[in-house]
C-alpha cells in the first residue's frame, strides 16, 4: 500500500512537471480561463448609463401584490424602459444580478399577501446593484408605489370614519385601530454586487469550472498518449501496482485544476474586485466540481479508442455542460432545473450564493450534488478503467 502510494506520488510529480512545461497545458489551465473571464466580465458587467434597464421579478407569493407589481412594470412609460425578467425566487434574482442579466430585482416573499391581509405586515425585498444606481432607484420607486397603494387603503379606513361612512359608535374604534397599525408593507433594500466586480464574481468561477473539465480531461488523454508512445508499457513493467499509474495521473491533473481555480480567484479578486466569498466554501466547491469532471472525463476516455476520440467527445460534452450550466450566462428560469442537473450549474449556484454572502451551508447541496455526479460517473467508468492503464 505504502509502496503504491509512493509510486503514485512519483508519477504525479513527473506528470505535473511535464504539464507545467507544456505551453498548451498552461494556456488551458491559466491563460484561457483568465482571458475569457475578463472579456465576459467587461462585456456584460459594464456600468448602467442608459435609460433602459432590466428588472427581475421574483413572485414567490403568487398573490395580488405580485400581480400589482407586474401590472405596474408593464404599464405606461415604464414598459418602454424596463424589461422584466421573471425569475423563480430570491436566489435566482440574486444570480440574475450577479451575472448581469438584471440590474435590479423585486422579490415578493412567499405568504406576503396573506400576511398583509391578516394585518401582520411584511417585507417587499428590493435588490439593487450599487453600480447601477438608476435601475436600483427605479425598482425602489416601483416598490414604494406598491407600499403607498397599501398605505392608501389604510388611510381610506380613517377617512371613512371621519366622513361618517361607518356606523355610529364604530368609527372611533376603527380609526384608532387603523392609526395604531404599523405601515403594512415595509421595503427592504439589499445591495447585490453587480457591475464589473459582480460580473467578475460570476464569470471568474464560471470560467474556472468550465476549464477544469479540460484540465482534468488531459489526464486520461495523457494515458492514451503514453500507451502510443510506449512509456505506459515501461510503467507497467515496473514493480508498482497498475492503480498507482491512474492515481498518480489523477493527483497531477487534480492539483493543476486547483492551481487553475486559485489563480482565477486571486487575479479576479485583486484585479477586478470580484468577491468569491467564504474560502472554505470555495475550496469545497472546487473539490466537488473537480471530482465530477475527473470522473466524467475518465468515463469518456474508457469508451474511446484513440486520443482524438477522447478529445472530440470531451469537448462536445464539456461545451454542452457549460452552456446548460450557465458558464456563459444564466439560463432562463424555465431551464434552471436543467442547469442544476449539471456539475457546472451546481457549482455555479454555490459560487453565486457564496458571493452573495452565504455561509458554508450554501455549498452543501452543490458539493454533495457534484460528489454524487462523480460517484455515478466513476461507477460507469469502473468496469473499463483497467483499459486506460493497460500497456
Amino acid at each position: 500500500m505504502a509502496e503504491g502510494l509512493r509510486a503514485a506520488a512519483t508519477i504525479a510529480r513527473r506528470d505535473l512537471r511535464s504539464r507545467l512545461r507544456d505551453r498548451s497545458a498552461l494556456v488551458t489551465a491559466f491563460a484561457a480561463p483568465l482571458v475569457l473571464a475578463v472579456i465576459l466580465s467587461v462585456a456584460l458587467g459594464g456600468p448602467d448609463e442608459g435609460f433602459e434597464t432590466t428588472i427581475a421579478l421574483a413572485d414567490e407569493d403568487g398573490g395580488s401584490l405580485g400581480e400589482g407589481l407586474r401590472e405596474a412594470l408593464a404599464g405606461g412609460e415604464l414598459a418602454e424602459i424596463v424589461d422584466v425578467v421573471e425569475v423563480a425566487d430570491a436566489g435566482a434574482a440574486r444570480r440574475a444580478l450577479a451575472d448581469g442579466s438584471a440590474l435590479a430585482a423585486l422579490v415578493v416573499p412567499e405568504g406576503l399577501s396573506e400576511s398583509l391581509a391578516s394585518e401582520a405586515g411584511g417585507d417587499l425585498l428590493v435588490l439593487r446593484d450599487p453600480d447601477a444606481g438608476l435601475s436600483g432607484d427605479l425598482a425602489t420607486a416601483i416598490a414604494q408605489g406598491a407600499a403607498n397603494e397599501i398605505e392608501r387603503g389604510r388611510l381610506a379606513v380613517e377617512l371613512a370614519v371621519a366622513a361618517g361612512a361607518l356606523p355610529p359608535g364604530q368609527g372611533e374604534g376603527v380609526a384608532a385601530a387603523a392609526r395604531a397599525r404599523p405601515a403594512a408593507l415595509a421595503l427592504v433594500d439589499d445591495d447585490v454586487e453587480g457591475g464589473l466586480s459582480g460580473a467578475a464574481s460570476y464569470f471568474g468561477p464560471a470560467m474556472a469550472v468550465f476549464f477544469v473539465f479540460f484540465v482534468v480531461g488531459a489526464g486520461p488523454q495523457s494515458l492514451l498518449r503514453q500507451r502510443r508512445e510506449g512509456s505506459l508499457a515501461r510503467l507497467a513493467a515496473a514493480p508498482i501496482p497498475r492503480g498507482a499509474i491512474a492515481l498518480g495521473t489523477a493527483a497531477s491533473v487534480g492539483a493543476l485544476a486547483f492551481l487553475s481555480i486559485a489563480t482565477l480567484w486571486l487575479v479576479m479578486s485583486l484585479g477586478f474586485g470580484a468577491r468569491w466569498g467564504e474560502p472554505l466554501g470555495v475550496l469545497a466547491l472546487a473539490a466537488g466540481v473537480t471530482a465530477a469532471a475527473m470522473a466524467l472525463t475518465t468515463f469518456v476516455a474508457t469508451l474511446a479508442r484513440t486520443e482524438e476520440q477522447v478529445s472530440g467527445w470531451t469537448s462536445i460534452i464539456v461545451f454542452t455542460l457549460a452552456l446548460l450550466g450557465g458558464s456563459f450566462g444564466a439560463l432562463p428560469p424555465a431551464l434552471e432545473p436543467l442547469s442544476l442537473a449539471t456539475p457546472n450549474g451546481l457549482a455555479l449556484r454555490g459560487f453565486v450564493d457564496l458571493a452573495a454572502g452565504g455561509g458554508l451551508e450554501v455549498v452543501v447541496v452543490p458539493v454533495a450534488g457534484n460528489l454524487a455526479f462523480a460517484a455515478a460517473a466513476a461507477a460507469l467508468a469502473a468496469p473499463r478503467l483497467h483499459r486506460l492503464v493497460a500497456p
Binding site: 509502496e3 512537471r17 500507451r227 510506449g230 515501461r234 515496473a238 514493480p239 508498482i240
Partner: protein
C-alpha cells in the same frame, strides 16, 4: 504497446521438422525460466507453448518476422500481459505470484522511445529509478553511472525532445539499466539509429552480458543477433521452431549455401522456377530479391542463372553467402526473415 499478431495455422509443407538445440541453461542458475507460454487474442493464437530459459551472463536472441509472436512473448515475460497458460519465473520469483519481486529483476527496454521528451535525460532516469525504489545518493550515483555507460553525461541536463534519434535510443536503454537488473530485455533496440549509435548500443549490451547480466534481445538485424547472442530462438506463427547456439542451428542446414539474387522481373516467378532446380532446398522472394537455399550452391550457379532467364527475368546481381541464421530461418519456414508476408 500493441501485441504482435501471428496467423495461426499448420506449418507449411516445405517446413522441416522442428529443430532443437541443446538447452544451455538448467537448474538454479537460470535467471529467466518460462514454460508453456500461450496467449490468444480472440480466435488468433499469437503465442503457442513457448519455452525460454536464460542463464546469468547469457545473451539470448529471439528471432522472427513481424507478427511471429516476439512482442507478445516479451510482453508476457515482462509482466505486461498475462498469459492464458504457462508460467514465468524471474530470478527465482514467480511473475504471477510475486510480481513486484520478479519485475524488480527485469530491465525492460521497449521498442518505442519510452521517455518523456519534456524532461531532461537526468530527470527521465531519476523518474524511472524511483519507480524501482532507488532514492537519494544511490539514485544519483546510478544515474551518473548509466549516463557514462550510454555516453550522454555532457547532455544529461538537456531535454530529451532535443536529442537525435540515436541519443534517445541510448537513454531508452539507460532507463532499463538503472536498477542493475539481473535480466535486461531489449526489444528491437537499434531500430532507426545511426551506425555510430548502433555500435555504441551493441558494445553496451555486450559489456552487460560480460558482467553477468542475462540478456534477452530481439532484432530484425541478423548480424546483431549473430554478433551478440550465445543462443538463439527462432519463433514463427507463435511457436518456437528452433533454438540453440549459432553452430547448432547452422548444423541444421547440412551442406546448403545461400544464394542472394536481385532480378529485373517477377521475383515470385523466379523463386518458383528455381524450386525445380535439383539441390534447391528452399526459395523465397521479396520485392526484386530472391533468396535460395541450395546444396553445393557454387556448382548450381550456372543452372540458376539459366533458370532466371527462362522465367523471363534479368539477373542484375548474384551473391553466394556463407550459411547464416537468415538461411536457417529460410530453411525452417520457407520465408525470408524480413518478409512480412
Amino acid at each position: 504497446m500493441s501485441a504482435s499478431s501471428a496467423p495461426a495455422g499448420p506449418p507449411g509443407p516445405s517446413r522441416p521438422a522442428r529443430a532443437r538445440g541443446t538447452q544451455a541453461t538448467t537448474g538454479p542458475e537460470v535467471v529467466l525460466e518460462a514454460a508453456g507460454l500461450r496467449r490468444a487474442f480472440g480466435d488468433l493464437t499469437a503465442v503457442d507453448g513457448v519455452d525460454v530459459r536464460i542463464a546469468p551472463g547469457e545473451a539470448y536472441g529471439l528471432l522472427g518476422p513481424n507478427g511471429a509472436g516476439k512482442t507478445t512473448t516479451i510482453s508476457m515475460l515482462c509482466g505486461l500481459l498475462e498469459p492464458d497458460d504457462g508460467a514465468v519465473r524471474v530470478a527465482g520469483h514467480d511473475l504471477a505470484r510475486e510480481p513486484a519481486a520478479a519485475k524488480s529483476a527485469i530491465g525492460y527496454v521497449p521498442q518505442e522511445i519510452a521517455l518523456y521528451p519534456d524532461l531532461t535525460a537526468r530527470e527521465n532516469l531519476a523518474f524511472f529509478g524511483r519507480l524501482y525504489g532507488l532514492r537519494g545518493r544511490a539514485l544519483a550515483g546510478r544515474i551518473d553511472a548509466v549516463l557514462d555507460i550510454i555516453g550522454l553525461a555532457p547532455r544529461a541536463d538537456d531535454r530529451v525532445g532535443t536529442y537525435s534519434g540515436g541519443m534517445k535510443r541510448r537513454v531508452n536503454i539507460g532507463a532499463g539499466l538503472l536498477h542493475e537488473p539481473r535480466l535486461v530485455v531489449l526489444d528491437e533496440p537499434t531500430v532507426g539509429v545511426d551506425p555510430q549509435s548502433r555500435h555504441a548500443i551493441l558494445e553496451s549490451v555486450a559489456a552487460l552480458s560480460a558482467e553477468g547480466t542475462a540478456i534477452l534481445y530481439t532484432s530484425h538485424y541478423m548480424e546483431e543477433v549473430e554478433r551478440l547472442c550465445d543462443r538463439v530462438g527462432i519463433i514463427d506463427h507463435g511457436r518456437m521452431i528452433a533454438e540453440g547456439t549459432r553452430r547448432e542451428l547452422l548444423a541444421e542446414l547440412g551442406e546448403a549455401d545461400r544464394l542472394d539474387l536481385v532480378v529485373d522481373g517477377d521475383a515470385g516467378d523466379v523463386a518458383e522456377a528455381c524450386r525445380g532446380i535439383a539441390g534447391v532446398v528452399d526459395a523465397a522472394a521479396a520485392d526484386r530479391e530472391v533468396t535460395l537455399l541450395v546444396r553445393h550452391g557454387r556448382a548450381r550457379l550456372a543452372e540458376v542463372v539459366a533458370t532466371v532467364a527462362s522465367a523471363g527475368a534479368t539477373l542484375t546481381s548474384v551473391e553466394l553467402v556463407e550459411p547464416d541464421l537468415e538461411a536457417v530461418f529460410l530453411a525452417l519456414t520457407g520465408r525470408a526473415l524480413r518478409d512480412d508476408g
